[in-house]
Every structure is written in C-alpha cells, then in structure tokens.
C-alpha cells in the first residue's frame, strides 16, 4: 500500500522576518502530489522567500516545513541533498552560470549528483533542451541568449535531474507577453508530460490561471485563500472580482479565459 502522504509539501505556521520586518507571518500551505499550484502575490510579498524556505536556502524563524513527510529544517546535510535532488527550482532571472555553456549548465545538476556517464549525460541534456525547444544550442553561452531563451535553458536545467517537485520563481517576469505565454505553455506541457508537482509563485494573474490547478493568494505574509483555478475565474467573491478586474481578466468575448478554465478542470480530473 502506498503510504506516502497526499501533500508532498506542507508549510505549517511558517514565520520569517528580515531585519525586524516580518515577511511571512505564520503562513500555512499544502501542495498535493502531482498538482500545479500557483501562489499569487504582489511584488515584495515574500513569494521568493517562500520558495527559498522550501529548498532550505533560507531557514524559517518559526514553523515547520515538510517535504514528503520529512521536516526539511531538521534534515542533516546528506539527507538535505537527497531532498534537493527530488526538488528543483527555476530562479527568477534563470540564474544560469555565465562561465558555462548552455550544455554544461543543463548538465550541472547531473554532475553534482553523479551516477550518469558522459554519453548518458549528453543524451539527457539533448533531450531536455529538445523539450524546451532549444535542441542543438549546447555550445552557446548564456550571454548570447535572449531573456526567454535563458528562461527555457534554466527550465531545461531544472528538469534535467527528473525532479518530483519544481519550484518556479516568477517564471514570466521580464518577458514580453508572447514570451510569457510561451513559458506558461511550456510549464503546462512539462507538468503533463513529466507528471511533476509544480509550485509557481507569480504576480502574473494570466500566468497563474493558465498554469495552475489551484491558486493560493498570498497577502500580508499569510495565505488568504486557496481556490481552484475555475473558482478563481468565476467566483463572485469581492476580493477575487477585484483581482480579476485589476488584471482585466474578465472572461473575454471569445471565451479564451473560459477555455483556460475548462482546460484546468480537465487536467484536475486527470489526477
């Protein structure tokens, strides 16, 4: 019998302050295995901090963070490496290593982990770059790439080691609207194809709606509510109406947003 918990990530009353300013205030959130969840919050609301706590780049001041039933904060270094091998993070600016080629960047997590020979590594790198539509760009340097391409290489690097959970930090920030939608589509297709759990923090409403099964609203350091994307798009709750109006995300005349909602519901049923 599978005894693994339903919630792969669980934050319980997590508090984090910087220089006396509380960024996360007793925040609680659960992410189900295999779902795509978006955390929606304005700039500076502590979204990136939330992700960095999950992968223990930061330590919480209080509260507990569990990954697959294990408390991340209590893990010794070697066990932490195992957890980090099962999770990967797409950083806001891509965080590609400037001194390495695209291929070396994508291969980096594989080298850190070891266990793959050179041919298998090259094959995996090629496969991941193909998935993000950048096959054959192994030898290019990150500085030669556009913002969108850098994000896609970073995405290839994030999925190189077959993670179970991918954390996305503002995946569409800094991209033009078309580039942003392309990244959204890519994240969605990877989500389906690889069957991973995705946690996306973003302030881009359109992006959140097109990627996520559920949307969590982060405000004042807490999760105010968690709703399905369909609820988010149709709910008459004043707060959600206001948000939708702010982003002009009312159901459009051609029904494209409604389609997005149907799409998400369909995906939700698939799990």
């Amino acid at each position: 019998m599978d005894t693994s918990p339903v919630n792969i990530l669980e934050l319980e009353a997590v508090t984090k302050a910087f220089h006396g300013r509380t960024v996360l205030d007793a925040l609680s959130l659960s992410v189900r295995r295999g779902e795509a969840m978006a955390v929606l919050g304005s700039s500076g609301s502590g979204k990136s901090v939330l992700l960095k706590l999950l992968i223990r780049l930061l330590e919480p001041d209080a509260g507990s963070i569990t990954f697959d039933g294990r408390d991340v904060a209590l893990l010794p270094d070697d066990a932490l490496d195992t957890v980090r091998a099962r999770m990967s993070m797409l950083f806001q600016g891509g965080a590609l290593f400037d001194s390495m080629t695209v291929g070396e960047n994508v291969a980096y997590p594989l080298h850190v982990r070891g266990g793959l020979n050179e041919d298998a590594t090259a094959a995996r790198v090629h496969d991941r770059l193909t998935l993000v539509g950048l096959a054959g760009s192994e030898a290019r340097m990150p500085a030669e790439l556009s913002g969108g391409m850098r994000k896609r290489v970073a995405l290839a690097r994030a999925i190189a080691g077959n993670p179970e959970v991918i954390l996305y930090d503002e995946p569409t920030t800094g991209l033009d609207p078309l580039g942003a939608r392309r990244i959204d589509a890519l994240i969605r297709s990877l989500q389906r194809r690889l069957g991973v759990t995705s946690l996306v923090v973003t302030h881009d409403l359109a992006s959140a709606c097109s990627i996520a099964d559920r949307i969590a609203l982060l405000r004042d350091g807490r999760i105010q509510m968690v709703v399905t994307t369909a609820e988010f798009l149709t709910s008459e709750q004043p707060e959600l109406r206001e948000l939708r109006a702010a982003a002009a995300l009312v159901p459009a005349a051609d029904g494209s947003e409604t389609r997005a909602a149907d799409d998400r519901q369909e995906a939700a049923h698939a799990f």
């Binding site: 780049l57 980090r84 990967s88 806001q92 600016g93 965080a95 290593f97 400037d98 997590p109």
Partner: protein, 269 residues
C-alpha cells in the same frame, strides 16, 4: 537658533549605532565561518584540479606583467634614493645589499600583494558578487552542490600558489632593474651588486618573503570571496563589495605584514 537637546546621551548614541555594530559583527562572524569552512575543506581533499588550474591562469598568469612592472619601478626608485643618500658617505657600493634584502623580505611580497592582490581580489569579488546577486550561488546550493568547495577553494589554492610565484618573478626583475639603476646612477659595478646580493640575501630571507606571499595570497582570496558571497543589493552592491575588497585586502596585507615581520624577527629570521 537654539540647539536641540541631546536625545538621551551616550546610551542612545550607542543604541543608534547598534545596528551597524551588529552588521559589522555579523560580517566578521561570516568571515570567520568562511575561514574555518575553507580550512576544513582544504584538509579534506580532493580538490577540483581543473578549477584550480583555471584560477591559476586568471589569478596568476594574468597578474605577471602588473607584478613585474611594480617591482621594476619600485626597485629603481628605491635604488635612486639609496644611491643618492649613501653617496654622501661614500657608501654607494653597499646599495646592492640594502636593496636586495629589502626587496626579498618586504617590498617584493608586500607590493605584489598590494598591486596584484588588488587586481585579483577585485576580480574575484566582482565575479562572485555578480553570481550572488543573480542567484547563481543559490542555484548551486539548491542543486546540492557546495559553493565554498566549488568557488572559494580553487581561488584560495590558486592564490596561495600564485602569489609566491609572482613574488619570485617580481624579485628577479626588480633586483635586475635595481642593479642597472645602481650602475647608471651611482657607478656601482654590476658584478659588485650581484655578488653583494647573493652574499647578503639568505635562504631564510627568501623563504620568509615567500611564506608571507603565500599568506597574503590566502588572505586576499578569502577576503575577496567573502565580500563577493555577501554582496547584496544588485549591481550597486557588487560595486560596493568590490571597493570594500580592495580597501580591506590592502589594509589586511599591511597590518598582517607588520605582525608577520615582528614574529619572524622574534624567531631570528
């Protein structure tokens, strides 16, 4: 205009400075943690040899010309000054002894550390600082790799190896240019200068100087790495950290040189 009354006297004055003092202590704590981290990892080999070689090229090979130029001009100036002063007592023939010993013991290692070290330190801080503010350091950690092992250790090893080699190169060209200057300025025969140098400069002088150089290499690279890894606040923060490295590395070189010289003299070196 009436002067405003002091707000609460010395206690409040101290309290107002507390955040800065706390930040300074925090930074010192971070530096001490990095030093122990580096020492621990240096003791536990293996290192990534290819990374060390790449850093030797950046840190060492590319600093050769600046080290040599520094030595040539500083030795020539010292020779001109000594020759002029010693000529007043008819002692200019001894300029070889004085210049060679001071170059090997002090000027060589210290000036190389100040000039080449400034270049090396600024380069390291700018590079690691940029990596820090663009989250590349976080990316390394998130993938389960160790930034100290990956980035700091190769730079520190390269610093420890490169600085004495740069100092040797500086000593050789510096003393040669001093020899030439003594001949031109004071009429000291080249052979006289050469033999005086060989006779007066002991193995202990050379090793003491090179030991200092290796220490400065470690000091400068650790300071530079720490500054780079603690950079924050975007590109401005990187600039601030880089300036900080040049100032801190130079001061640390001068202060530790003083301490080193005193200790070496205690042991009769």
């Amino acid at each position: 205009m009436r002067r405003l009354p002091p707000q609460g006297g010395w206690f409040h004055a101290l309290a107002a400075r507390a955040p800065r003092a706390a930040a300074a202590l925090d930074s010192m704590g971070g530096f001490a943690a990095l030093v122990t981290g580096v020492a621990g990892r240096l003791a536990r080999r293996p290192f990534e040899l290819s990374a060390v070689v790449a850093q030797l090229e950046t840190i060492g090979v590319r600093s050769v010309s600046v080290s040599m130029l520094t030595a040539i001009f500083s030795c020539m100036v010292v020779t001109i000054q000594f020759t002029a002063q010693m000529a007043r007592f008819g002692a200019q023939d001894y300029v070889g002894e004085v210049v060679s010993v001071s170059q090997v013991r002090e000027l060589g290692p210290v000036l190389t550390a100040l000039i080449a070290g400034g270049r090396i330190g600024a380069g390291i801080t700018a590079e690691l600082g940029s990596m820090k503010v663009t989250e590349q350091i976080d990316a390394i950690r998130s993938m389960g790799a160790d930034p100290v092992r990956k980035l700091v250790i190769p730079r520190v090893i390269a610093g420890i190896v490169a600085m004495p080699i740069l100092t040797i190169a500086a000593n050789v060209v510096g003393i040669a240019s001093a020899m030439l200057m003594a001949r031109l300025q004071g009429g000291v025969a080249l052979a006289r200068f050469y033999h005086a140098s060989v006779r007066e400069v002991t193995t202990a002088d050379v090793l003491g100087g090179l030991g200092k150089a290796a220490f400065f290499g470690a000091l400068i690279t650790v300071i530079a790495c720490h500054q780079g890894l603690s950079a924050d606040g975007g590109t401005t923060g990187v600039g601030r950290a880089t300036t900080g490295t040049v100032v801190l590395a130079s001061l640390a070189t001068l202060v530790s040189d003083f301490a080193f010289t005193k200790v070496l003299l205690l042991f009769g070196v």
